[in-house]
Subunit: 282 residues, 2 copies
């Protein structure tokens, strides 16, 4: 049991018998929306903590790794991404990273639950500081329906920044949605999906990869990275391409973009591409 | 609080307000030695768990990452390592990885607490399966005194596989010990030290790097990797070289070694070298 002289928020990840917990100073918000329950806590050492339906979404201290790794490998896997679509991503951390790319001319974010964004604006303002960029369009709508209504081959990069594959995000892990993404992507289009833990969720990752191959993507890679606030502290993004190979950018292209990344760089990108999925469970 | 219908082992990392916990089936061993208290638990999903003085040392499920990343970057940073010294490392997981290198002719392990190795033989036999290799010498002695008594320039690689810098391992994080390591290393010698979490322990890592520079090492790099069972799930090894640059092996050299690694490979090595320490806390 955890010490009782502290107030804790604990996420018990029952399927794998492991829990993560943070000491809490105060409970800042509790919202029950049409889709889910959202809580915001002030922690003692990790800044603010957002929890949806009991699952940790992000903390102020460590979200930079996830947002950088969901965004930059995908954008650099496209030769010249101009139009980007984010499905989910309501905390706007991914949006902020996408807008750091000077070549991007339009980013549409489709988050089903407006309350996630409103709470992020209040408690994670550093992630929302580019929300007023004229290139950004924030929609609050169903991502599945949005993708179906898109013109074919109209988007360069799609980023699926979802919650876990239960509840409102479940459809985002199904084959029909990935097929719709393939259709909406332009000639050299790239799709990236957050794909859970390489240590705990290999069958799920295999399912995502199978969906991508079945949809017609020619390349598919799963990139691992540390993510302290998620179960196992080891997380992944799976990237798929309609066109060319999935490679890190040249140093010149990376430097030209002038990103202020704290985790991502081309060497880290190459290392993440080296994640050896098939060997992890033995 | 964690659910009370389960039995838990929890490690509360108080300086950073975070805890990790596992559901437990049984408490297999409890030993109080001259140096520390050692506990072994059977978990529901992570195999066996070794705890020293309340801090998690390893689990059956995820120790492969730590042991591979403490061993292979250091050995491949030396042009032809023949003699290796392990300070600590009583669970023998590092020893097993070192012995996987066919060019190594002698490995000496100096663990202060014999009980750690005896318990590992019993509860982590997969890590001890090479302990009878004729190239291996297992000593149970004080690592600080052992290093001081070595002939100068007599070892190719030193691996400091210690517990946290409190208790018996404290001296292994001091400048005098690192100076002694430098003296004991051969011309192109390489030192590697487990160096805690890039997210939580940056000042400690900076101290290790300062010790290495002060001792006369010409190169020093901190390599990050996920390590699920340690606080933050993100850990590091700091490698220092007396001679050449710190680089991953060529594919040819890596393939020649025929290692059966599950996390490490040259791409992962290059990515870990890209860890951007100075930018993590901002």
């Amino acid at each position: 049991m955890l010490p009782t002289q502290h107030t804790w928020f604990s996420e018990f990840y029952q399927p794998e018998g492991v829990a993560l917990a943070w000491t809490i100073e105060s409970h800042l918000a509790h919202e029950v929306t049409d889709y889910q329950t959202i809580d915001i806590y002030k922690t003692t050492h990790w800044g603010h903590l957002m929890v949806i339906d009991g699952c940790v979404m992000l903390t102020s201290r460590d979200n930079f790794i996830y947002h950088e790794m969901l965004t930059h490998p995908a954008l650099f896997s496209h030769p010249n991404p101009k139009t980007v679509l984010i499905i989910g991503g309501g905390d706007c951390g991914t949006l902020k990273e996408v807008l750091a790319h000077p070549g991007v001319v339009k980013v549409t974010q489709v988050e089903i639950d407006e309350k996630v964004t409103r709470l992020s604006e209040r408690f994670f303002p550093e992630l929302c500081e580019r929300n007023q960029d004229p290139r950004a369009q924030l929609l609050f709508d169903d991502g599945l329906a949005h993708i179906q209504a898109l013109e074919p081959e109209s988007v360069d990069v799609i980023i699926v920044d979802s919650t876990d594959p239960i509840g409102p995000a479940e459809g985002l892990f199904g084959p029909a949605f990935i097929k719709d993404c393939h259709a909406a992507l332009s000639h050299e289009g790239v799709l990236v999906q957050q794909s859970e833990s390489p240590l705990l969720h290999l069958p799920l990752i295999e399912g995502i990869r199978a969906n991508m191959r079945a949809a017609g993507f020619s390349q598919c890679e799963t990139l691992g990275f540390p993510q302290p606030c998620y179960p196992s502290g080891w997380w992944s993004a799976t990237v798929a391409s309609k066109g060319g190979p999935l490679q890190p950018p040249t140093e010149a292209r990376f430097n030209d973009a002038q990103l202020a990344t704290r985790y991502y760089n081309p060497a880290v990108h190459a290392g993440a591409l080296g994640t050896q999925l098939g060997l992890i469970e033995r």
